[in-house]
Structure formats: structure tokens, C-alpha cells
Amino acid sequence: MTAEALLTWARGPGFDWALAIFVLGMLLRLFEVLSLGSKPDLAEGRGSGVAGGLKTIVTRTLPRSSVFAREPLRIINGYVFHLGFFAVLFFYEPHIELFETKLGISWPGLSTGVIDALAVVTVASLVLALVLRLTSPVLKHISGAGDYVAWAVTILPVMTGFLAYHHMLLPYTLMLALHLLSVELLLVVAPFTKLTHMFSFALSRWYLGYQAGHRGIES
């Protein structure tokens, strides 16, 4: 298969299939969670569960000072690669054009210089995250194959995108094809790893926050 053919496939059926698997996979995960149901809380409440749930979805984004003090690097690094990844994904003009063709909406992007820098920062941050995972006793103890798979499929799109943009490593067409394939890999793998957290975090924060709001306790 030539690089052109690969690229064409990756842009076409490859992407469509991957997206379909991603959407169906995530919906399936959502169903697997919700279908288990939850019992209503019969204890007399002090406040609103709904308010607690919604509030917690937002406020859990920030860490508590006492744990931040213990692992500031790990925490800050987590924000860096999350924000970097989102920035590169959503504010790079060619990506925005893709969203426009698929969803019909668009928004202003960041300059390619900034995106470029962010991509480098994101890759570095992800590498640091891996190093921390491999060297911290707690993280080593609780990590499994799934964590490393998730790491790989997350870093590959950023790396290959950077390499493609700079026409590095491989001929452009091939590099671009690999970039798209790495994105497709991420899409296909995500629903079956901890990457489900990208959606389920709202559910888990909601459930915890709902109980806290109902009971009138901090969350």
C-alpha cells in the first residue's frame, strides 16, 4: 500500500470506523454503568443532592491544599498534559477545520507557533508522567498494563502530529497517515481503558457530590 492510499484510507473509512467504535464504545460503557442503577437515599437530607452533584463536577477539578503539598509535581504535571492535549486538539486550525466539516461549528484557533510549543510541552509532560508512574512506589503498586496502553495511545497522536507538521522522521504523507492512524488507535482503544474517565468523571463526581449535597457535607 502506498503512503497516499494509506492516508486516503485513514482520512476516510479508517476515521469513520474509528469514530463509530469510539462513540458506540463510550455509549456502551455509559450503559454498563447506568444499567446497574442506584438506590434512592431514604435518610432525611439537609440539602440538595442536585446542587451538590453539579457543584462537585466543577469543584473537584482543583486539588485540596493538603494533598497538593505532598505531590505538587505530579499534580501540576497532570494539569499540564491535560491542558496541553486539549489545546492542541481544539485550537490548531487544521483540527478546527475538521470539526467544522463534521459538526458545522468552528471557533478561533491559536497561532501555529503557540500550538507547536504546546505540543512539545505536552509530550514532555507525558514523558514525565510515565517516569513518575514508574518511579513512585504508590503508582507502581497500583498501575497495570492498562495504564501503559492508555499512555501510549495518548502520546502517539501528539508526537506524530508534531513530526508530521515539521516534516520530520518520515516523508510527510506517510507521517500524516501515521498521525491519523494513531488518532484512530486512540479512538478505538479509549472505551476499553481508563480513558473512559474523559466522560465518566462527570458521573462519578456527580454521584459523590449528590450524596454530599443531600447530606449537607463537604465534597
Binding site: R29, E32, K39, K140, H141, Y207, G216, E218
Partner: protein
């Protein structure tokens, strides 16, 4: 409780998995922050005490049975089933190394209620026969005798007798239609008789009617600590039946941590219906009296004091402001620990840990967290509102040769009540 079996254990764990728990496992990204909030990990440095690790057997069951990919892996023979060996290995993580303090649930970035999951996994461990001896005994006694420590009505009556003779106050039994029905923990009955006196004194001044039920005076719910909902339910039902039969307006949970959690939050869900009465912790009641101007106190303590927040009452119970408002009535020199209120650290003896002799060494290690909080503050007195915290703190302070006396908040308030000259003790 019928014959224990690992099969049943796994079944029980499986039954605990609901939508919230499935969402928690789906969201966990193994960030390790829960460990940083846990006093057992913090003071031992042993990664196995990482909170989310404590529920790993439950996670495996969830993955293998409730996710597509997990089911595929199972069919292909690629997943490790939960076996007896896991129960053996995890028992000390689930019981000895966790006081159900709930700090981990406060810091998980994706909002996992890890402490809630540990409470639920205990259901499986208990029924599989992998619960600590101390807790098994306590629960058995609670069911059969009515108290985890084997305290029977005569002991309660002896205390009431003393109250009547030494102070002229009364603790009336089985009064129909009383404003409040007071529960007592075995720890208080056995070790801290001053609690009952304090309550009597306060009720008298506030002009409220109160009673103790001769059929259901026990507040401690060992079923909750060991993790056997059936037993927890039976213990709650006794209180509910007595309270509803007497037609009291409010049941008061005493200075005991898990008693509050059991009767206030778990109770209605265990018996399957709301109560026909309210439930309040004694501090909530006292603070209401204070707010209504019913508590008249005199004098202020000059000693430097701080408050240890019982986990079940403050972090998990939401009774944060009340102890502070009450303390400020009688203390001129009250200082807060750096991590105070909802983020305070556990005494190290909650959730059944203090009833588990095997966990003593670990508990004393974990206590060093509280020690470091106190070392920073240099206080003369430590105030708290849970009998179990109190003993655990006293033992920990003793072990570390620290001379800080520990006192109960209700007792402290009662000591400052304005009294008639006649009644003065």
C-alpha cells in the same frame, strides 16, 4: 450469620456494585492522590495501603463481570479471578489498615467515594469469614446481648442510680412522647459515666423532656463496622421500634462516631423506609439549644485548647460548625489544627480498628499523624466528641508520652452550665 464461604463473599461483593461504584471504577486513572490523603499510607509508607488498592478485589469482579472488555478477557482466560488467597491478603488492608475515615473520598480528582467502597467490600469479607476476631465478637454480642461490649440494662440502671443519688437529676426510662430519646454507646456506659450526667444537666436547663429506652439504649452499630448489613439493619430496627413505640420526636446519637453514621444515614436505607422521628447528634442538639438561648454558661477556660474532629461526625456527618460554636462559648484560647474541620485527620482508631487487637501496632503508627498535628500546636487540652476517639487519643498520647488531657465536649459544656446553689456539684 450462616457458614462463611468465599463463594458467598464474592457474591456479596458483586451485589454491592451499583451505578455509582461502576462509575468510580470507570473513572479511576490511578493517579495515587488517595494515598496522599490516607493516614495509614502516610505513616507507614507502604503502597499497599493506597485506598483504591484496598478495593482491588471488587474492581476485578466489576471488570470481569460488568464490562464488555472484561468479559472478553475472562472468556479468553486472560483475567485473574478473585480467590480465597485474595481474601487472605486483603483482609488486613480492608480492616486493619482503614478506619473508614473518608479522607480519600475528599481528594479523589474524579470524585470516587473510595471510603464508601471499602465499607461495601467489607460485606463480602465478613460473609466469607475474613473479618477480624474482635469485630466478629462485638457484632455477635451486639445482636445477642444488645451491646457489643456485653453491657446489659443493669449497668445502665446502675449509672442512672448514681446520677439520681449524686446529683438529684434523673434519666427517666421509657417515657412516652418525650422530646428526645437518648442513645448511649457501650464505651460511654462503661468508661465515661460523666456523659449521662452532662446530658441530664443540659436537658434540665434547657427544659426539655428526655428518656432512655430500656429496650434499645445502645448506640454503637458494630454491623456497620464489620460490614454486615443484615446485622446493621437489626440493630437499627431495635432503635427504630423503641423510638416509634415511645413516640419520641428526636433520637439523639451520642458522642460516638459510627453510631451517628449508622443511625443518621445508613439506618433508613437499611430498613427500607424513612423514620417517623428525627435523628440528631448530641452536638447538633446542644448547638440548637445554644442558638435558642437555652444554654446558660458561665466562666471561660483559659487553657490552650484544640478540637479533634471525629471523622463520622464532621467530615462524613456535616456537623462542622456546631462544635466550634459550642467551644467558643466556654473557651478563651481555642486554636485550630492546621488540617481542621472536614479535612482533619482520623484519630487512627475508627471504623472498627480500635476493636481489632491485631491492628494495635499499625494503629499506633497511624497515630503519629495526629501526634504531628498536636506537636505543631502545643495545646494544654484536647477536646473531642466521640468516646472511641477519646480512648484512642488517650492511648496514643500515652504511648508517645504526651501529657495532654482529653475531654468530651458535652461534658465540658455541662461543667460550665450556670447552676442553682442547691444543685451545685
Amino acid at each position: 450469620m450462616s457458614a462463611p464461604s468465599v463463594e458467598k463473599g464474592i457474591q456479596f461483593i458483586r451485589e454491592q456494585i451499583d451505578a455509582p461504584i461502576a462509575s468510580f471504577f470507570s473513572s479511576c486513572v490511578h493517579c495515587g492522590m488517595c494515598a496522599e490523603a490516607c493516614l495509614f499510607y502516610g505513616q507507614t509508607g507502604e503502597a499497599k495501603y493506597t485506598p483504591i488498592n484496598k478495593v482491588e478485589p471488587m474492581r476485578r469482579i466489576w471488570e470481569q463481570e460488568f464490562t464488555l472488555w472484561g468479559k472478553v478477557k475472562s472468556t479468553l482466560g486472560l483475567s485473574r479471578k478473585v480467590t480465597e488467597k485474595d481474601f487472605e491478603e486483603w483482609e488486613t488492608l480492608v480492616y486493619d489498615g482503614c478506619s473508614l475515615c473518608g479522607r480519600c473520598s475528599m481528594v479523589c480528582p474524579v470524585g470516587n467515594d473510595i471510603s464508601g467502597m471499602i465499607r461495601k467490600i467489607r460485606e463480602g469479607f465478613a460473609v466469607a469469614g475474613y473479618a477480624p476476631e474482635g469485630l466478629v465478637g462485638a457484632t455477635k454480642r451486639a445482636i445477642e446481648i444488645g451491646s457489643p461490649m456485653g453491657v446489659r440494662l443493669p449497668a445502665v440502671k446502675a449509672q442512672i442510680g448514681h446520677l439520681q443519688k449524686d446529683t438529684g437529676l434523673d434519666a427517666p426510662l421509657d417515657v412516652k412522647g418525650a422530646d428526645y430519646m437518648v442513645l448511649l454507646s457501650s464505651m460511654e456506659i462503661m468508661n465515661f459515666p460523666e456523659y449521662m450526667e452532662a446530658v441530664a444537666r443540659i436537658m434540665k436547663q434547657a427544659g426539655k423532656t428526655w428518656t432512655i429506652s430500656s429496650k434499645a439504649f445502645e448506640a454503637t452499630n458494630s454491623g456497620v463496622q464489620i460490614g454486615v448489613s443484615d446485622l446493621a439493619r437489626e440493630l437499627v430496627q431495635r432503635v427504630v421500634d423503641a423510638a416509634e413505640e415511645l413516640g419520641v420526636k428526636t433520637v439523639i446519637s451520642p458522642e460516638c462516631g459510627h453510631a451517628y453514621t449508622a443511625i443518621r444515614w445508613e439506618g433508613p436505607n437499611l430498613i427500607g423506609r424513612p423514620y417517623k422521628f428525627k435523628v440528631q447528634h448530641i452536638l447538633e442538639v446542644l448547638d440548637e439549644f445554644r442558638d435558642q438561648g437555652l444554654l446558660k454558661t458561665e466562666g471561660m477556660e483559659e487553657a490552650r485548647m484544640t478540637f479533634h474532629d471525629p471523622c463520622q461526625l464532621v467530615r462524613k456527618g456535616g456537623v462542622v460548625k456546631q462544635p466550634r460554636d459550642l467551644l467558643n462559648m466556654v473557651a478563651n484560647n481555642f486554636v485550630e489544627m492546621k488540617d481542621h474541620g472536614a479535612m482533619n485527620w482520623c484519630c487512627s482508631g475508627g471504623g472498627g480498628v480500635s476493636a481489632n487487637e491485631r491492628a494495635d501496632e499499625l494503629k499506633f503508627k497511624a497515630f503519629k499523624q495526629k501526634k504531628s498535628q498536636l506537636d505543631e500546636l502545643h495545646v494544654d487540652t484536647l477536646v473531642t466528641a466521640c468516646a472511641n476517639c477519646r480512648i484512642t487519643l488517650e492511648e496514643g498520647l500515652e504511648e508517645n508520652e504526651m501529657d495532654i488531657p482529653v475531654v468530651g465536649l458535652t461534658e465540658l459544656i455541662a461543667d460550665h452550665l450556670v447552676q442553682d446553689k442547691k444543685e451545685k456539684a
